[in-house]
């Protein structure tokens, strides 16, 4: 495992906490959640697991950890999950999509656009699964 993956995701997520005005006591824990999510994603990707599945799993982990910490620190869930999700957002793919559109390379652009959409969907689904499980836990 490359250490660059660990510290860059930790610092980047914490910096995002400042941009979103996250309360001070949630900055470090939010950063750690983002780091765990991103490290999971990179780890799964090195084992040749499809990007969409690894995004889904990482988003699920980020959301679940956020729910647990939110309960523990008595803060809204958003405070933790918002910055933690950011590294998983397919910014790079969206950029490639735009670049191919500009270069009039539509077949590649559509390919990348589809992938961007599917990955966003995977993030959504990861959040949804985690939300449903937490509701079940609360009821049970």
């Amino acid at each position: 495992m490359d250490w660059k993956v660990v510290y860059s995701s930790l610092i980047a997520t914490m910096a995002f906490g400042f941009i979103f005005n996250v309360p001070k006591k949630a900055i470090i824990s939010g950063g750690i959640i983002g780091m765990i999510g991103w490290v999971t994603y990179v780890y799964l990707s090195t084992y040749k697991i499809e990007t969409i599945s690894s995004t889904l799993i990482s988003a699920f982990i980020v959301a679940t950890l956020s729910q647990i910490l939110a309960k523990y620190q008595k803060l809204p869930v958003t405070v933790f999950s918002v910055a933690g999700i950011i590294p998983l957002v397919p910014g790079g793919l969206a950029y490639e999509t735009m670049r191919y559109f500009v270069e009039n390379n539509y077949s590649f652009a559509i390919k990348y656009a589809t992938k961007t959409l599917l990955i966003s969907g995977a993030i959504a689904f990861g959040l949804i699964i985690s939300g449903v499980i937490s509701q079940l836990v609360k009821k049970g």
């Binding site: 660059k4 993956v5 941009i19 979103f20 309360p23 999950s81 950029y95 500009v102």
Partner: protein, 251 residues
């Protein structure tokens, strides 16, 4: 006996602050209902969309009152959302009277953000640099992404103060980021991957909060707000993409 009007005012103020600073729809409805329930015996009905709040309160004598507030400005300040959340909890356990709650909510509404602008600009610069590293850039890409991301976010804040059209300022900011990255890469000779630099520098503008809130709204059954926020996120992404596309097309 408390007046329905006073309760209404506190509920709407709490909802308004929460909604305009990035709270999810179900949380806004929950908060307003919780506050109302701690003062009233009757039913409360709320309907929250990203651009406005409807609230109906009913007293024990079946007296009813309905009001509406319009939300014009939406920004992200999760600290304010947290503070309002705490106030609603205090009201629910009876620690806060309605007049104190009103004063405190007004303070939160008009208060400064938790972190000053320069902290936000510096953190977006740092975030941009490390995002360039995260997306397989190397240390040579750190400084260009740092500069482009920081100055890009600064322009975004400055132009937002002048032009209130969000999507336009986002496009201008991403255009400026693209142009800066090009300048640093080609004329100053810094950095090895232009793509990584631009992606990293654009990240602070990416509508991450909107996306997660949109999903959470849809999940909670607030279909209309979910779709509205989704549309806002999509338009923001499109604005950023268009800004970068213009730069890519020009050079």
């Amino acid at each position: 006996m408390l007046k329905l009007n006073d309760i209404m005012e506190v509920c709407l103020l709490a909802g308004k602050v929460m909604l305009s600073f990035g709270g999810e729809t179900y949380r806004v409805e929950d908060t307003m209902t919780r506050i109302a329930k701690s003062f009233l015996i009757g039913e409360t009905y709320s309907y929250v969309t990203p651009t406005g709040i409807f609230l109906t309160l009913q007293s024990a004598e079946k007296e009813e009152l309905t009001k509406f507030v319009r939300i014009y400005e939406r920004s992200i300040d999760l600290n304010k959302v947290t503070l309002v959340n705490e106030i609603s909890r205090q009201i629910a356990i009876g620690q806060l009277s309605i007049d104190d709650a009103k004063i405190k909510l007004k303070e939160i509404e008009n208060g400064q953000p938790l972190y000053p602008v320069w902290v936000q600009v510096v953190s977006s610069a740092i975030a941009s640099g490390f995002f360039a590293l995260m997306f397989n850039g190397n240390w040579n890409d750190y400084l260009p992404a740092f500069i482009a991301g920081g100055l890009g976010f600064l322009l975004f804040i400055l132009s937002h103060a002048i032009i209130q059209v969000r999507f336009f300022t986002e496009m201008v900011a991403s255009l400026w980021i693209g142009a800066l990255a090009y300048f640093i890469y080609f004329y100053l000779g810094l950095g090895t991957n232009l793509d990584k630099i631009i992606i990293g520098a654009v990240m602070p503008l990416v509508p991450g909060v909107l996306i997660t809130n949109a999903i959470r709204d849809l999940m909670a059954g607030d279909l209309l707000s979910g779709l509205a926020r989704g549309a806002e996120a999509f338009l923001t992404a499109l604005a950023i993409g268009a800004g970068i596309a213009v730069v890519l097309a020009l050079f």
